[in-house]
C-alpha cells in the first residue's frame, strides 16, 4: 500500500467533555484517500464521539479539524455533508414513517426540470443502489417495522448514495448477517479503490483484519496507538484496548446439564415461523443461528409472551403453559434480553438503578412505596458485577455508551433471577472486553443451572458458547446440532436452507 501524501481529513489535539465525562482527550487522527482506517476501543472509549465530531453533530472543546488541508469548523451535519463527509451512525437515524427510498434521499430528492420531486427516478436510483448491495428490500416499504438489520442496510445505502469523499461507518456490521457483511466489504473495498477515505468503527477483530489498512486504538478518550493494521496481532490489539491480557474470549465452562425445563412443540405463528420444536435443559446453552430475518427473534417474542402463537405448545417443567404476557413469562421463570436495546430494553430518561429494577419494581416495594435502599444495593451490586462504566447508579442511561447500556439491560434481567434466559444478540455492539465478560457471565449462569437460549448472528460466538445449535431458515428449523457436530460449514449450510439432512 502506497502512502498518499496529503490527509483529506485531519483531527488535531481534539478534546471533548460532556458534563463531567471527558469523552476525548487530545486525540489526533488523519484520514487519507484510498485508505481504510479502523477505529477500535472498548465501550465508552470515545469512538462515536469522534465520529460525531466529523459528522458535525458535536463541536470539539479544543483542537483543530482540517478538511482538505484547510482548517474548518464543522458546525452542522448539513455542512459536514456538503464537505463530502458521509456518516453511518451507530444507532440508525431513520424516518420510520417514510419508505426506504425516501429515507435514502431525504433532503436530496432528485428533481425534474420543474423542480418537482422526481419520484420515479428516486425509486430507480434506490433500487439500483440496493441491488448493488445485493439487498432484497422493497424500496416502497416503510422503515417502521423493518428489523434492525434492514434498517442498518438502509443507513448504508444512504451513506453510499452521498457519493462522499470521506465515508465514516460506526459499527455498520453490528446487525448484519455474514452475507451482507461480505457485500458491504466488497463495496467498501471498491470505494477504497476509487480513493475514498474510510473510517471504520468495529468491535469485530476479524473484520478489521480483513479490511483495515491502518488502525487506531482508543482507550478512555485517549488515542493509544495508530499503526498499519498488518503490524498488530489480535492479541496486541486486545491488550491495547483493554489495557490488560484477556484470558479467553469464549470461556465456555463445563455445566451440569439437567432436566428438561422448556419444551416447545410445533410452535407456529402464521407468516412468521412454522413448526418450531426444541427442548432446553437446565444448565444448557442452546444457540440460535440463522441469517437475518430467519425468525429467531419472533420465536423469542412468542416465548416471552409479547406475540401470540397460532399453533403449538409450550411446556415448562413438563407442564403445558399459556404465556399471554411478558409478566406471565416472568412468572414462569423466563427472562428476555431484547435485540434492540434503545427501543425495547431501556427507559432512556431513567437512572441505571431504576432501569435495572424495572421488572421487579413491585417486589422491591414495601407498603410505603419503592424501597430505595434495597433498590440502591441491588443496582450497585450488579453494576459492579458487570463492571458498568458510569458516574454512579443514579446516572441516566441515555448518557452511557452503547456497550454499557447493553450491560444495564443484561443486569436488569439477571436481577429477576430467571431459570430460562433468552439472550437476543447480547453482545451486539459490545466491545471485546465487555463481550468476554458477558460470555463469562453466560457460562457462569449456565453452570448455576440456568437454561439459556443464545440468539446470535455471530457464528463464532454461537459455535463457541453453545451446547447445541438450532438453525433457522425462513421461519423453519433447518437443523439442530450437538456441540461436537456443529461447525461453521454445517450451520451455514442449514442457515441458507440447503436441505435439512442433519435432522
Amino acid at each position: 500500500m502506497t502512502q498518499p501524501s496529503e490527509p483529506i481529513a485531519e483531527l488535531i489535539d481534539i478534546s471533548k467533555q460532556f458534563g463531567t465525562t471527558q469523552a476525548l482527550r487530545g486525540v489526533d487522527l488523519a484520514l487519507y484517500p484510498g485508505e481504510i482506517h479502523a477505529l477500535v476501543g472498548e465501550n465508552g472509549a470515545g469512538k462515536s464521539t469522534l465520529v460525531k465530531l466529523l459528522g458535525g453533530i458535536h463541536r470539539p472543546d479544543t483542537g483543530i479539524i482540517r478538511i482538505n488541508g484547510t482548517e474548518t469548523e464543522l458546525h452542522s451535519p448539513a455542512q459536514s455533508q456538503h464537505l463530502g463527509i458521509a456518516v453511518i451512525h451507530q444507532e440508525p437515524t431513520l424516518f420510520p414513517d417514510l419508505n426506504v427510498a425516501e429515507n435514502v434521499f431525504m433532503g436530496r430528492h432528485p428533481r425534474d426540470r420543474f423542480g418537482r420531486v422526481d419520484w420515479k427516478q428516486m425509486y430507480q436510483e434506490v433500487e439500483r443502489l440496493l441491488a448493488s448491495l445485493d439487498v432484497h428490500l422493497s424500496v416502497y416499504a416503510p422503515v417502521r417495522g423493518l428489523p434492525v438489520a434492514d434498517q442498518q442496510l438502509v443507513e448504508i445505502a444512504k451513506a453510499l448514495s452521498l457519493d462522499a469523499r470521506i465515508l465514516i461507518m460506526d459499527e455498520p456490521t453490528a446487525a448484519l448477517s455474514p452475507h451482507e457483511v461480505e457485500k458491504l466489504f466488497t463495496i467498501t473495498k471498491q470505494l477504497r479503490q476509487r480513493g475514498v477515505a474510510i473510517l471504520f468503527v468495529s468491535h469485530r477483530l476479524e473484520e478489521i483484519a480483513e479490511l483495515a489498512d491502518k488502525l487506531t486504538i482508543m482507550r478512555d478518550g485517549v488515542r493509544v496507538i495508530t499503526a498499519p493494521a498488518s503490524e498488530l496481532t489480535s492479541e496486541e490489539i486486545i491488550r491495547h484496548m483493554v489495557g490488560r491480557e484477556l484470558t479467553s474470549l469464549f470461556p465456555k465452562g463445563e455445566a451440569q446439564i439437567g432436566e428438561i425445563v422448556l419444551e416447545v412443540r410445533h410452535l407456529t405463528r402464521k407468516g412468521v415461523f412454522r413448526d418450531v420444536s426444541f427442548q432446553l435443559r437446565h444448565g444448557e446453552i442452546l444457540g440460535f443461528s440463522g441469517l437475518v430475518g430467519a425468525g429467531r427473534t419472533e420465536v423469542a417474542r412468542v416465548l416471552f409472551g409479547i406475540d401470540r402463537a397460532d399453533e403449538g405448545e409450550i411446556l415448562i417443567d413438563n407442564q403445558p403453559v399459556r404465556i399471554s404476557s411478558p409478566k406471565a413469562a416472568m412468572r414462569h421463570g423466563l427472562a428476555y434480553v431484547p435485540e434492540d436495546r434503545r427501543q425495547q430494553g431501556l427507559v432512556m430518561d431513567f437512572t441505571i438503578a431504576a432501569n435495572m429494577t424495572l421488572p421487579i419494581v413491585r417486589q422491591v416495594s414495601k407498603i410505603g412505596g419503592v424501597d430505595r435502599q434495597r433498590e440502591h444495593s441491588i443496582a450497585t451490586n450488579y453494576s459492579q458485577q458487570l463492571r458498568i462504566r458510569s458516574t454512579g447508579i443514579q446516572q441516566l442511561v441515555k448518557a452511557l455508551s452503547g456497550g454499557n447500556q447493553q450491560k444495564v439491560v443484561l443486569a436488569k434481567w439477571l436481577i429477576t433471577n430467571p431459570s430460562i434466559l433468552i439472550l437476543d444478540e447480547p453482545t451486539r455492539g459490545i466491545d471485546i472486553g465487555a463481550k468476554a465478560e458477558v460470555h463469562r457471565i453466560i457460562s457462569e449462569l449456565a453452570a448455576k443451572g440456568l437454561a439459556i437460549i443464545l440468539i446470535s448472528s455471530e457464528l463464532p460466538e454461537v459455535l463457541a458458547m453453545s451446547d447445541r445449535v438450532l438453525v433457522m431458515h425462513e421461519g423453519h428449523v433447518t437443523g439442530i446440532f450437538e456441540r461436537d457436530e456443529a461447525d461453521q460449514e454445517r450451520v451455514m449450510f442449514a442457515a441458507t436452507g440447503q436441505t435439512n439432512r442433519e435432522k
Partner: protein, 334 residues
Amino acid sequence: MIKERAKALVNSWDAFLVVLLLLAIVYGSFRSPYFLTAFNFSALTRDLMEKAIMALPMTLIIIAGEIDLSVASVLGLTSVLLGVLWNAGIPLWLCIVIALLVGAIAGLLNGLLVTRLGLPSLVVTLGTLALYRGLAYVIIGDQAVSSFPADFTSFGFGSVPGTLIPWPFVVFVILALLFLALLHRSWVGRQIYAIGNNQEAARFAGIHVARIKLLLFVLSGLLAALAGIVFTSRFASARPDNALGFELDVVTIVLLGGVNIFGGRGTLIGVILSLFIIGALRNALGLTNISGDIQNIVVGILLIFSVLGPNVVQRIREALARRQMVAGGSPKKV
C-alpha cells in the same frame, strides 16, 4: 443523599413554581386589600376544587403519554345524572354511587378504546368529549334540576364547622395525598413513568401497559364524576352545560405544572403548585375587576413564559459559558 436531593430541588421546576406562587401572592396582596384574607383564600380554593380533582388523574395520564379530553364532559354527564336520578326519587347516596359508577364506566370506555383498539387517546377522548356531553343533553333535555337537599348543597358551599376550610378542599387534600403516594412512592408510579418514557421497553419489562393505562382512564372518569358531584353540590344545579370547556383549563394547569405533554416527565407537586398559581392570579385580577379575557391573556403568557423563560436563561448561560471558557458544557439541547 439528602444534600443531593436538596440541590436537585433548588434547581427543579417545582422550586421555580414555588417562587412563582409567592410572586402571585405578593402581587395579589399589593393589588387588592381583600386578597390576603382568610375568607378570600377560602373562596379562591373552593373555586378551584373541581379542576383540582380532575387534574390529579390527568397528571398521571399525561405522564403515561396519553391524554383525557373528556373529563369536563364526564363531569357534566354525571352532574345531570345525579339531578335526574334525584328527581326520580332515588335516595341521594344511591344517586351518588350511580354517578360515580357511570363516571368510571365512561373512563373505562375511553380506556378500552385506547388500549384494546390502539386508537390515539387524543382522538378517542375528543370523540367522547362530544359523546358524553351529548348524553348529558339527551338525559336532561331542556330541564335543569336544582331541588337538591340542603345537606347536599351545603357540602359544596359549606366549610368545615368553625373554620373557613371548604369541604371540597378536604376531599382534594385526601385525594392529593393518595395520588402523591401513588405516583412518587409506589411501583405503579414508577411503571407509569416508564410507560410514558418508552412504552415498548416497559412492555418488555413485564409491565402491563394496557392494564395500567386502563386503570388511569377509569380513575380519571371516576374522579371526573366526583368533581361532578362537588360541582353539582356547589351550584345546587344539574345542567348539561356544567363545566363546559374545563378540559382546557385542566390541561393548562397540568402543563404549567411542568408535566411533559409527550409523557414521561413531571411531578404532581408541580401540578398542585400550578393550580394555586393560576387560582391566586385569577383571583387577584378578579378582585380588581379585571375581566376574564385579560385574565386569560395573563394565564396564556404565563404558560408560555414559564417554559420560555428558563429556556432563554439556559441558552444565555450556555452561550456565556462557551465564550468564556473553551472547555464548556455540552451544547446539546434538551
